[in-house]
Symmetry: C2
Subunit: 293 residues, 2 copies
Amino acid sequence: MKPFVWLFLLAFASAPATAQDKPVTPSSVLEAAPATVWKDIPAEDLMVMTLADGSKVVAQLAPAFAPVHVANVRAFARAKWWDGAAIIRAQDNYVTQWGWPDEPEPKYPDTVKAEPPAEYEQPLSKSFRAVPYRDVYAAQVGHIDGWPVASDGKVQWLPHCYGMIGVARGLNPDTGSASQLYTLIGHAPRHLDRNIAMVGRVVSGMENLSTRARGTEALGFYKTAEERTKIASVTIASDLPSKERPALQYLDTRSPTFDAWVKARANRKDDFFAVPAGAVDICNALPPIRQKP
Amino acid sequence: MKPFVWLFLLAFASAPATAQDKPVTPSSVLEAAPATVWKDIPAEDLMVMTLADGSKVVAQLAPAFAPVHVANVRAFARAKWWDGAAIIRAQDNYVTQWGWPDEPEPKYPDTVKAEPPAEYEQPLSKSFRAVPYRDVYAAQVGHIDGWPVASDGKVQWLPHCYGMIGVARGLNPDTGSASQLYTLIGHAPRHLDRNIAMVGRVVSGMENLSTRARGTEALGFYKTAEERTKIASVTIASDLPSKERPALQYLDTRSPTFDAWVKARANRKDDFFAVPAGAVDICNALPPIRQKP
């Protein structure tokens, strides 16, 4: 029988590196990083959703990737259009989705563009920095300014990783207005890449979406109002009093610290690992987020 | 404003193919399959865990991949060793883990081998059938007798996909006894492949593990007994009265139906998809499971 402590899979967490002979781990890389590698997320890019049970979800918006859909997200929030809507769907190993459950939806604010263009991909940015690992779905993967990115060498798109947020839509050519959003709560369904507008990423409170009871209707939709958790409010952080604003930072994906962190993620060398992978999936290399100290 | 029905992402589910001009979808492939492609999972390979809240989780064991660890799982279950233990950990986008929370653990049954060999990989089986898509972590991926498999061409191993079950352990050379098990509840942490003994896969009731409140201690461990959901019983299905046994089947991974299903997963062609992926991640191609009709 083994001591209790072993069984706790302690080595899943990397111990701080306190001496030079300790292996470099993802944690030790972050602990050794200078403050300058952490970049503030603008308050205009943070969406705060408060649920009726008091729990909060904070999302970082991605205006550089889907400007019209993100403008709609801000417009819906600023019109308080989502206040009183609900989490309407939770399908295991797939998505949690929110919006209004019944048709017709409430009238859109005048500031919303009801039929946005298909912002599913963009010309490849010069800021793209590839990681040296292959991908199942894309020719290249890497990062741009704190975001995971996939590319075919000509265009780029945000991949469907855990916690990323997409715009629910119907059949083509509908692109969705952003009135209903979803986040990924299981293994990345990357076959949705390039088929949906991605508008951001959950950066705090993900567990308040991932642990929702799964809906029992087809596709995980909830059947009754009682099963749905209502949305108390959705607010853009810059509209909150400064004391209530979340203050979050992402690790600069152009920094040597980030490169070292990705390398350490791909090559685990602490006492737990017998065989380092030598690679890391783009969805296992989502840029770290922290509270601003 | 769009009709309500569109916003439900209806096309996430594939409509049954009712005419020859309908696109081939994963669902239509399964619906057209002969009964002979569904293989019974032996009752000796089904582990039934009943939680104190009445919910059930059914796992398929993988004796061909980790025979000693799986023999331990059966021995722990048959000695009722887990009855009264608990879910002790839920870490978001990572694992839900169960076993005894306190040390020392109860005395092991004599039938348990306390220090099993490192069954992390096996010589590559001649039954291995590769899928024609690349993988981030392994040189080849494919299937063997209903299981997803990764390989370097010489050895094989079960990958850490959503719902797969591994044996918690401490630092090397400890391999874990199987007294504590975990399942994956997020994006596949494939860097654990070849570093842990994998003993099976959740095939029913996964939501009863994936929706657990996340623990607030380090690594998602629960702090108090109140936070832990107790395990009422763990039983091998062959020890249950025949009427109470789950009867589950997996899609024969050597069948043309399975090949067509994988191909349809990689190349979505219904009215929802603008761009088919042309590939599928091994963790998005876990062999389908169904209730025996």
